[in-house]
């Protein structure tokens, strides 16, 4: 196990390095002059040239890369072109907001998905199973802004139970109120996929020899469910959650825009539009790194739960 962990850590480090190169390369080739993006289309050309010089947007790529990476390792990702302040003044807040929303979403969607998927597995082939599968699929496919607006219309405008958006600030209760609607929107997106995976795992467990033996031995259904089936539907679910982390942390642009929730998705999208390269590179890299970390943790968790993987079987 220890060797497995070390090996995975090493691989992750290499991948992080590759990620940094990719992020830097993409940002370096963004078209349009930074000065023009900041000053706007109606500013005169002399001003744009001057600003570009001030910001130092030219210069050999390799040295710029190493400057950036060197600073990054120390936690200094440079200054934002737009806000004229260190990038790290803005990213932690946005990241924390994204984490809060992700946590809220997972709190809702994971139990729902596991219960839904397991239930569908127990009723496999019957109406309930079909319904859960199709409902999940239809919701997953509906664009976030549709689900979101419908939720806002019903709960914020018509019923006035919840706010239509905003940032998560203030008391715990206030924050939860703000987070519920966007979290429900994301739940609609993720539920279908999560429940499908849980269902697949549960079906496999129900059909396995272990379950049959346990039932034959006279163990009550609920114990069998708890010990074996649920545990088996947990494994693919963990894998799914890990694979969705990059989406949950940095890919929520649409939901964040709709609910005016200042997370990393909005930060990155604004930075791209403003050609705020330092902000863009730092935020994208952090999202990628965190997603990789989550995948690593999930892999380790799965390995720990599933002896077959740990002992190096077919992967």
């Amino acid at each position: 196990m220890a060797r497995y962990v070390l090996r995975r850590l090493g691989l992750t480090a290499i991948t992080l390095f590759i990620l940094s190169i990719v992020v830097f390369a993409v940002s370096a080739v963004l078209p349009g002059s930074v000065g023009r993006a900041i000053l706007g289309p109606f500013a005169d050309e002399a001003s744009v040239v001057k600003l570009n010089q001030e910001l130092g947007v030219d210069g050999p790529l390799i040295s710029r890369y190493f400057d950036w990476i060197g600073g990054a390792l120390r936690g200094d990702f440079g200054n934002s072109y737009k806000f004229r302040a260190p990038v790290m003044d803005f990213i932690p807040t946005a990241l924390f907001s994204s984490l809060k929303l992700a946590a809220m979403t997972l709190i809702i969607v994971v139990p729902l998905g596991i219960i839904g998927g397991t239930y569908a597995a127990l009723r496999q082939g019957k109406a309930a199973d079909r319904f859960i599968t199709i409902a999940g699929l239809s919701l997953a496919v509906t664009p976030e802004f549709v689900v979101g607006i419908v939720l806002i219309l019903v709960f914020a405008v018509k019923l006035d139970w919840l706010p239509a958006g905003g940032s998560a600030r203030g008391s715990v209760v206030d924050q939860i109120k703000v987070l519920i609607l966007p979290a429900l929107t994301l739940t609609a997106v993720l539920f279908g996929y999560l429940s499908r995976m849980a269902r697949a795992g549960a079906i496999e467990a129900l059909a396995s020899d272990y379950t049959r033996t346990a039932t034959l031995k006279g163990l009550p259904r609920s114990t069998v469910l708890r010990r074996h089936v649920l545990r088996n539907s947990l494994l693919p679910t963990i894998a799914v959650i890990a694979s969705q982390m990059s989406y949950l942390l940095g890919g929520l642009l649409v939901t964040e825009t709709l609910f005016n929730y200042r997370g990393l998705g909005l930060l990155i999208s604004d930075a791209a539009g403003d050609r705020d390269v330092p902000m863009l590179m730092a935020a994208v890299f952090i999202v990628g790194a965190l997603a990789m970390l989550m995948t690593l943790l999930a892999d380790l968790l799965i390995a720990w739960l599933n002896p077959r993987v740990r002992l190096g079987g077919k992967q």
Binding site: L11, I14, T15, L16, I18, L19, V22, V26, L30, P31, I134, L137, S138, A140, V141, P143, E144, F145, V146, I149, I152, L153, V157, V189, L190, Y193, M197, A200, G201, L235, P236, A239, V240, A242, S243, Q244, S246, Y247, L249, G250, G251, L253, V254, G265, I268, S269, A272, G273, V284, V287, G288, A289, A291, M292, T295, D299, I302, V309, K314, Q315
Partner: protein, 298 residues
């Protein structure tokens, strides 16, 4: 927007190869008898027909604007049974015409993605070693970035037209598909017929494409059908950041995006009708994919 490859899926990628023609024929017969397959195919064929000949199904001109008829409720007026949008255009007709963009772009991008995925997967799975390690790391790095951000960055540099979307979705799905194919190839390569071919002195590309490829057809087909559903869904999401079709086009993603504020005025049909159309298409594709997968897993 979700990207569904997982550890478990990759691990379960090993699929039994079907060998004789008779077995294949039997499977096909069973396919045509499964309810899920029939329902899914019917819906799919309906949309394909709409993409080819929308004029036959549609009742109005999808681009004719008529400000006087703005926001007519569904079932309220003769001839506009699903109502009109904010420019007085018939919602039903636009939903029918909107099928075309998606039916062109989605399959094209998935074909591209599958092609990339197959080539990469075969190479990685057969050669293993350094090549596999490096490409795997790069793929992992790329996949740690959210789809929509990659799309956003692409949009800043390239035009948002059809070709860009096809390339973008193709290149985004390629690595994902590659991982599944790789897993399947790894299972195959230790089998006897591969060993025999190597001993015969056959070249690598021959072994990969002529010997192994036919035997991993199962997972390829499954991946293709699954990805097709996700391509459709991704396209709608990309419309939000300005990708894709130009204003005025009845493309579903575009329409849903343009009409989303109408919901706040209690006008739900211009955005929900195309959303329903989108959902029905993806559900249909998934039903077909499920039926095919169910049979292959047998």
């Amino acid at each position: 927007m979700t990207d569904p490859i997982t550890q478990t899926e990759a691990a379960a990628g090993s699929v039994p190869a079907t060998s004789t023609r008779a077995v294949r024929r039997e499977l096909r017969r069973q396919l045509f008898r499964s309810k899920t397959f029939i329902i899914g195919s019917l819906i799919l064929l309906f949309w394909v027909f709409c993409a080819i000949a929308p004029g036959v199904v549609g009742t109005h001109d999808p681009s004719k604007q008529d400000p006087a008829s703005k926001w007519i409720h569904p079932f309220f007026k003769e001839g506009h049974w699903l109502g009109t949008d904010r420019f007085g255009r018939d919602v039903f007709t636009r939903a029918i015409y909107g099928a075309r963009e998606i039916m062109i772009i989605a399959p094209a991008s998935v074909i591209l993605g599958t092609a990339i995925g197959v080539v990469l997967g075969l190479a990685m799975g057969y050669f293993r070693g350094k090549l596999d390690d490096i490409i795997s790391r790069v793929i992992e790095a790329l996949m740690s970035l959210p789809v929509i951000l990659v799309a956003l960055l692409a949009l800043t540099s390239l035009s948002g037209g059809r070709l860009t979307i096809i390339l973008l979705i193709g290149f985004l799905f390629g690595p994902v598909i590659a991982r599944t194919i790789r897993a399947a190839v790894i299972t195959e390569r230790d089998l006897d017929y591969v060993r025999a071919a190597e001993l015969r002195g056959e070249r690598s590309w021959y072994i990969m494409f002529v010997e192994i490829l036919p035997n991993v057809f199962g997972p390829i087909v499954v991946e293709f059908t699954v990805r097709l559903g996700y391509a459709v869904f991704t396209m709608a999401g990309l419309a939000f950041i300005g990708f894709g079709t130009q204003p005025g086009s009845p493309d579903w993603g575009r329409t849903i995006f343009e009409e989303r504020s109408s919901l706040l005025s209690d006008v739900w049909w211009p955005s929900l009708v195309p959303a329903l159309a989108l959902a029905s298409l993806v559900v249909a594709i998934n039903l077909v994919a499920d039926a095919v997968q169910g049979l292959i897993d047998r």
